[in-house]
């Protein structure tokens, strides 16, 4: 059974506020400078002399670069990976150029490298370090991804749990058979919640879960909840991460139906379009429901899990219009 991609952890820039990162940069750049000195000198003594000379120019620049990156760390962290890399390289090269200009004017050292060489060397070294950090993260990534998935494991809302048990208890005397079925549905729901989040599940199973969840909610809310199912075009053998659709339906009910005094219409539509599977869950948009804020964590959670499984091929969008709140998910059709 295919599961998450092994090097699935999303690319992140190194954290320029981290002591270990700073230490590594200092070490690496100095090591490179030393290697350069050794290469360009006839013997070790001359190399060391040369290294000390270069260091006089290099260390202050290195310090300035690190301080600048430390200061910009917050801003950089918010950029997408490749944008961030470009920003880092630009900033580093610009600073090196400025530094070179200032030192040239102030120190008037005749053996100073030309500006162009300084800039190119800086660019190369910075690029090299970014590559190094990227590989470093990737080396740790399978363990990280798994740990992340554990943390992201969908959790059931206590509100749903206790209210459902309460509803089942209300049924026990008057309709014991229905109460039995509902408890079995609850058991299935929990079993899925506790299952291994790293394995794909078939869409047919996820749909069955949705229907069972809907039955339990119907118990509580009666005719206040009206769900339309458009599942005819759903590819039952499609694979997707578990617990992607159920939390969305749960939010639709919690924010879009429960705070309303009248009945609420919820739409669940899943269909296949070529090599893509599209799912839509829609509910009434209630001001009181506060759905935009309330949904954010669940949506981030689902987005991250989709990214861990499908990388950039999965899409999740929310839309508000005509008094309706709508979530659209698109994933590649895999079987």
């Amino acid at each position: 059974m295919p599961s998450i991609r092994q090097n699935a952890y999303p690319d992140v820039l190194p954290d320029f506020r981290n002591l270990a990162v700073i230490a590594r940069v200092l070490l690496a750049v100095n090591a490179l400078a030393l290697a350069g000195a050794l290469y360009a000198s006839p013997n070790v003594m001359a190399a060391l002399e040369r290294f000390v000379y270069v260091a006089a120019f290099l260390e202050p620049l290195l310090l300035i670069e690190l301080i600048a990156l430390f200061a910009l760390a917050g801003v950089l962290a918010r950029l997408p990976y490749w944008g961030g890399c470009a920003a880092v390289l630009t900033a580093v090269v610009l600073l090196a150029g400025l530094y070179h200009g200032v030192v040239g004017t102030v120190a008037a050292a005749p053996e100073l490298l030309s500006l162009m060489r300084t800039l190119v060397l800086t660019l190369l070294v910075a690029a090299f370090l970014l590559v190094y950090f990227r590989l470093h993260t990737k080396a740790f990534s399978p363990a990280l991804a798994e740990a992340r998935l554990q943390a992201l494991q969908a959790r059931i809302r206590p509100h749903f749990l206790f209210n459902s048990l309460n509803a089942v208890l209300a049924l026990i005397r008057r309709d014991p058979k229905r109460a039995e079925r509902s408890l079995e549905d609850l058991a299935d729901l929990f079993r899925t919640l506790m299952a291994d989040a790293r394995q794909f599940v078939r869409l047919a199973e996820e749909i069955s879960l949705l229907e069972r969840y809907a039955e339990i909610e119907q118990l509580r809310l009666g005719d206040r909840l009206r769900i339309s199912w458009e599942l005819d075009a759903a590819p039952s053998d499609a694979l997707l991460p578990p617990m992607v659709l159920q939390p969305l339906l749960e939010n639709a009910v919690y924010h879009g139906v429960e705070p309303g005094t009248g009945a609420g219409d919820v739409l669940v539509r899943i269909e296949r379009r070529g090599e893509r599977v599209l799912a839509t869950i829609e509910n009434p948009y209630l001001e009181k429901g506060n759905q935009r804020a309330g949904n954010r964590m669940a949506l981030d959670n689902i987005r991250e899990r989709l990214a861990l499984f499908f990388d950039a091929e999965a899409r999740l969008e929310t839309r508000i219009g005509n008094g309706r709140y709508r979530v659209d998910i698109e994933i590649p059709y895999r079987k």
């Binding site: 206590p158 509100h159 749990l161 206790f162 209210n163 309460n166 509803a167 509580r220 009181k288």
Partner: protein, 250 residues
């Protein structure tokens, strides 16, 4: 015998409470005085029901349990309140801190019996205690009129003016008198209202502008011009700088 009123938006939840009340009948004689599905319905039905204890779900559409409880304190024979919740950490914390009684869903018969006995003895909670426990400002202010509670939506209020012991609540249509402190109201509704005078709070949304009066011998002072309302409200000299600041981005 204790007359019990049940307020919960979920039908099975109300049914279960009815069943439990029957179960504990010998221990705590009781009768169901009425039921409601949300706060507004409860406000309509409760006064005439003669209920002594209210079993109140805190999460209800329209008006939540805590706000309802606050409005009920205006009634002559306000019922004692036992809050009921499935799970709400903040609310439970607030209840514990303010010694307000509550039950967790699913409710056990024994706990229900104990809560009823305690509530019947303790009587209605005070408005101050409920105000302290409240998580959010009210959506309505309420006025007790004989045997019913009249609700005034906060967004319809133009201004609140303190007069001796009472506060006048003015909407476009009419005026009400409530027995609350202007200071407490200012704290609760610091968002939508701004203080223009020691004895007056005005709804920001209702301010259309300001007018300067006086001049010549008299020192000039400012007045608030309200949207669609003739009366001008004087702004005290002390409050004027703050008011002008706050309303500057209108």
């Amino acid at each position: 015998m204790i007359r019990v009123f049940i307020a919960d938006d979920e039908t099975p939840a109300r049914e279960r409470l009815r069943e439990l009340l029957q179960d504990i009948e010998t221990d705590v004689p009781n009768a169901v005085a009425g039921e409601a599905r949300n706060g507004l319905e409860a406000l309509e039905r409760l006064p005439a029901s003669g209920a002594q204890v209210l079993l109140l779900d805190i999460r209800m559409p329209g008006m939540d349990g805590l706000e309802l409880a606050r409005h009920l304190t205006g009634l002559e024979n306000a019922p004692a309140v036992v809050f009921v919740t499935a799970h709400d950490k903040h609310a439970i914390e607030a209840f514990d801190l303010n010694a307000l009684d509550y039950l967790l869903k699913p409710v056990r018969a024994e706990r229900l019996a104990a809560a009823l006995k305690k509530a019947a003895a303790a009587g209605a909670p005070s408005a101050e205690t409920l105000a302290r426990a409240a998580g959010a400002p009210r959506e309505y202010l309420s006025v007790a009129e004989r045997h019913r509670i009249v609700l005034v939506p906060v967004k319809d209020i133009l201004f609140l003016r303190a007069e001796q012991k009472y506060v006048t609540v003015r909407t476009r249509e009419r005026e009400y008198l409530i027995e609350e402190s202007l200071v407490a109201l200012e704290r609760e509704f610091s968002g939508p209202f701004v203080r223009i005078h020691r004895n007056c709070l005005v709804a920001r949304a209702a301010i259309r502008g300001f007018e300067r009066t006086g001049g010549g011998d008299e020192e000039a002072h400012w007045q608030v011009v309200l949207d669609g309302f003739a009366e001008r409200l004087p702004v005290s000299r002390r409050q004027w700088p703050a008011v002008r600041e706050l309303v500057a981005d209108k």
